[in-house]
Structure formats: C-alpha cells, structure tokens
Symmetry: C2
Subunit: 194 residues, 2 copies
Amino acid sequence: MTTTDSPAKLDHPIRNGVDTATLFATLDAVRQAPEAAKFQFRAHNQWVSGTHNRGTIDDYFGVGEERTHERSFVFDADHPAVLVGQDHGPTPVEFVLHALAACLTAGLANIAAARNIKLTEVHSTVTGDIDLNGILGLNPEVRNGYQQITVRFAIKGDAPAEKLRELLEQSRARSAVYDVVTNGVPVAIEVDTA
Amino acid sequence: MTTTDSPAKLDHPIRNGVDTATLFATLDAVRQAPEAAKFQFRAHNQWVSGTHNRGTIDDYFGVGEERTHERSFVFDADHPAVLVGQDHGPTPVEFVLHALAACLTAGLANIAAARNIKLTEVHSTVTGDIDLNGILGLNPEVRNGYQQITVRFAIKGDAPAEKLRELLEQSRARSAVYDVVTNGVPVAIEVDTA
C-alpha cells in the first residue's frame, strides 16, 4: 500500500475515508469465522396520526452478539398534502430510493479504496416511476410498487473513466439493497391485536 | 359518516388523523383523470467519506407537475464500526426496513379511516436477516441482500381482532414498498465520469 490520505498514519492507511487495514482484517476474520457475518437488522415504527409515522433504528445483531448503533436514528415518514398527508417526512417509497443510492455509494468507496483509486466526488440521483392507480386500487392492471427505477451516478477520481465505471459495476454486483430491490425478498407478516 | 374525531368539523371528518373527505375526493379525482396518479419520486445522494454518505429527498413529480416537499429531508447513511464505518447513520439496508414499516403503517391508518375503525395504537418491528458473506464476496452461494424479512405489528383499535387483522392484510395488498421488496423492480444504472 503506497498511497494514504494521512501521512501521519502510514501503518494504518486511509483511502477515501476507508480504513483499508481494518477492511482487509475484517474480511480475513470473516473468512476464518463465517458465522460472524450473520446479521439481523431491525427497524421499529410507531404510528403518529394519519399517514404520519416514526421509525427508530438502533439495535441489531451481528458478529455473534446484540449490538446498538452509537445513537438511535429516528425518521418520520408521511405523505405530502397532494397524497392526503401532512408532509412530516418523505413517503415510504422515497426511503427505498435513498437506501439504494446509499448502498451503491458506500460500496463504491470501499471498492475504490481496495483498488487504490482515490475518489474526489461521487453523487447520484435515483428516480422511481410509480403509477398510484395501483395502490389506490383503481386499476388492477397496475402494480403497487415502482414500475422502473433509474440510478444516475457522477463519479470523479484519479483513475480513467473505465476504471471508475468498473467500480460502480462491482458495487452493483455486491450491493445488498440492489439485490433486495431487483430480486425481492420473502416477507412474513405477523400481527398481535391483544 | 357518523364518526369524527373533531366535532367542530362535522363537514370534514377526520378519523385516525386521516382527512377522509379529501381522501375520497382524491380517489374520485384520480378515477376521473388516471394520468394524475403518475408520480416520479427521487432521492439525491452525496458521498461524504468512506461508507458515510448523505441523501436528500425534496423534489418529485406528481399530479401533472413538478413539486417539492415542504422542506428538504436529509438523511445520513453509514456503516457501524463493526462494518468498518463510523456509524454516522443507519446502514442502507436498515432504511429498507424502515420504508416497509412506514408504508404498511400509513396504509393501515388510511384503510381504518375508510372503514370507520378508530385506531388507538399501532407499532411494529421489521427484522431482516442477512448473511454478509454475500456482499463481502466470500461465498458465492450467499445472496447479497436479506434472506428473510419479518414484520411484526401490534394494533389496537375499536374493532374486533379479526377486523384489525383485515386492515393489515388490506394494507399489505396495497403497499408499494411491500410490492417492491417482495417482487423486485427493474433498476437501470447510468454513470457519468466526465
């Protein structure tokens, strides 16, 4: 490793803000103990009023034990007035687009660090086309969810365009949210009315 | 409509915080002009450092024109230290769970209002099981995304348990995020490296 953003820490190279030594050590640790990679993530939600509700993300399970984030993250969701809400937060479907952009971006930075490419700028816009005749129950031919999602990235760094494109392709190939959104996941629903 | 939470506004009944008159008027308007229901939602994202990035949700298209939320909603995403990040926000995959809980909850409140059921409490926890051997590239047999998602709701209201369960079942049947997460969506990715 010949490149570091932090000359004072040559024994612990940071590239793109990624602690590559820890990244590689983590990969080695999981290679030795694959069970460590079994995680359970969670979101808690409390209805507030109408379409307004509040999600909390704090606890999760991973590397063999219960864990918590350094703080609780709280997110309101709502509908805008045009969808009969009060716009206290994004719509639920917008959070899905945010998740997709965030996952591809995090992967890109990790992969660039592993490949010794320094990124200078990464931004993206994710758009999702949806026909609400589906969720409104007005047209049985129309699905409830997005019909199409398009991700547009702008990436700058110290590598040729082709190498930058390959970073994004590899990030896509290893993205958890991309997999969920394109391939779907079995969802079980349980309810307690006591 | 014989029930209202707001006796002062009998001509404009609010149930569960849902403006049912506007809800039904919106349904009628879309029935007359189905094109109004074509929406495009968007999320913008800016890489910060490492796995830390920041999403912004503000603009969208719907009911025939460009619109913006009443304010911009900004959300950081990151990995926790155990996943070689700095825990500046939830992981991207956790936002997916939040989106699913939020969508089912908003639908539940709307459907309860339409069915004249008063809700007193709705909360939920969504869990997603994931084996990170997939995204770490350590086991080609393991998928990148969640292997299973489980949603657990607790619902209280002024209706028999069976009616409360039916609300959740109808919300599931009309949920945009549930459809996306269970059935998947085509995703196109474009990149600009100029």
